[in-house]
Amino acid sequence: MTFWKQAIEIARVDLSVERRTGDVFRIVIPFSVIALLVFPLALGVDLSGISLIGPAVYWALGILFGMQVALRQAAADTPERRDLYSLLGVDPAAKFAGRAISGSLLTLGFFSALLVAMLILYNPRLSNGWVGPAIASTVLAAIGLTELGTLAGEVTAGLRSRTSLASLIVAPLAIPLVIGGSQTLEAITRKASILPWILLLLATDLALAVAGVGLARPLEETSR
């Protein structure tokens, strides 16, 4: 049970640190909401299709900006702190799990803010019963995105070009998440089954979790 104890303790501390600095709240959310505004503006007011593309824009921006939330966490991991955790006997896999937990919660917070903004700005026509699937797919996508961000952050730890390189690595690997997320809402509209998409998200999350936990030890050494 040390594993979960360590993971939860790390997640707890990460969240309390973020609560005190608040970059997600101060920078990522406002900028992403502005990005949401761009579409109606650039498409021209007369375009009636604005309410149609709402969900798609939500997913695209959510993934691109949400990535930054996960990557920020990785950036806070200075070499001194990595050494400290190692010598405190923290299992790298537990650290990965803890990071994934706290990052997922933050990313979820970000997605919620974005979702509300999207609903207000785009007033999309959604079929009945969209709430459950939307929440489920958002949660799963947030988890996957965070896992990816944490992994990419570790791989690029200590590199100067870190943020951009990590973005480059995360963005393509995030494609299954985008597909799964956006197709879930699509499927409801078309009254098709959402199961395959939810399963795709779930499978991606699990694969990333396995990769993260399995590769945690070699990853831990990458920055050295």
Binding site: G158, S161, L165, L168, I169, T222
Partner: protein, 236 residues
């Protein structure tokens, strides 16, 4: 060196045979002469898949063994894989232009996922360039190499997941949907491309070894650090 030459000679013979079959085998009824592109398009993609698989396998081997050979193999394989992906993309786009009337189509997930796979491995190579220390580079890229391979099944199964323009697999456990002659031509080409792949890898490994030989020898870290020259303080 000789290994590389022999492989290239074999690849030359095999590719020549493949091309001959490609131009003599019967064509598709609907697509006409254009269907011959299949003999380059499909083997390129399959060899690319294989290359990325090999990158993943050697990455894992590096993580287990930590010997530089596996790292060099992973790199060589990724580079060659990117090359073959480019060939596959290019032939696909040419084919699309001929039979669909356009080179690229957004509504096709196979196309998008293939492009993404291409960029994932561009990212892998970028990560390698960004890391100067050889050991750190090996470790970092081994991890990415092991993760990035999930892109391959995504590309492969994308045709089944979506309604696409792009063809679904024509070779399946339950039998093939292609005429036998076409199948034979393609089979020979797949073999030829595989030999070419091996030859390119061998050549890339030779280059890597040559680079290693000319790499500067490390210098003792504290060699350039001297006691201060206090007498010259006023000269600054």
């Amino acid at each position: 060196m000789t290994r590389t030459r022999i492989l290239f000679a074999l690849a030359g013979i095999a590719v020549a045979a493949g091309l001959w079959l490609a131009f003599t085998s019967p064509t598709d009824v609907v697509q006409g002469e254009f269907s011959r592109i299949i003999n380059v398009h499909v083997p390129s993609m399959w060899v690319a898949f294989m290359a990325f698989g090999l990158t993943a396998a050697s990455s894992i081997a590096w993580l287990l063994r930590k010997t530089a050979r596996w790292d060099r193999l992973a790199e060589a394989s990724a580079e060659v894989g990117v090359l073959f992906t480019a060939v596959g993309l290019f032939t696909g786009m040419a084919w699309g232009q001929a039979v669909w009337g356009r080179a690229w189509d957004w509504s096709d997930v196979r196309l998008a996922t293939t492009a993404v796979m291409f960029f994932v491995y561009i990212g892998y190579l970028a990560l390698r360039r960004a890391t100067p220390d050889p050991y750190a580079r090996a470790r970092r890229s081994a991890i990415l190499g092991a993760i990035a391979v999930i892109q391959v099944p995504l590309v492969y199964f994308s045709v089944n997941l979506f309604r696409t323009l792009h063809q679904t697999q024509s070779i399946r456990p339950d039998g093939s949907t292609m005429p036998t002659e076409m199948l034979i031509a393609m089979g020979v080409n797949v073999i030829a491309f595989t030999v070419l792949f091996a030859a390119l890898i061998a050549a890339r490994l030779d280059v890597a070894k040559a680079e290693l030989a000319v790499a500067p020898a490390p210098v003792q870290a504290d060699q350039g650090i001297t006691p201060p020259r206090l007498s010259e303080v006023e000269d600054v």
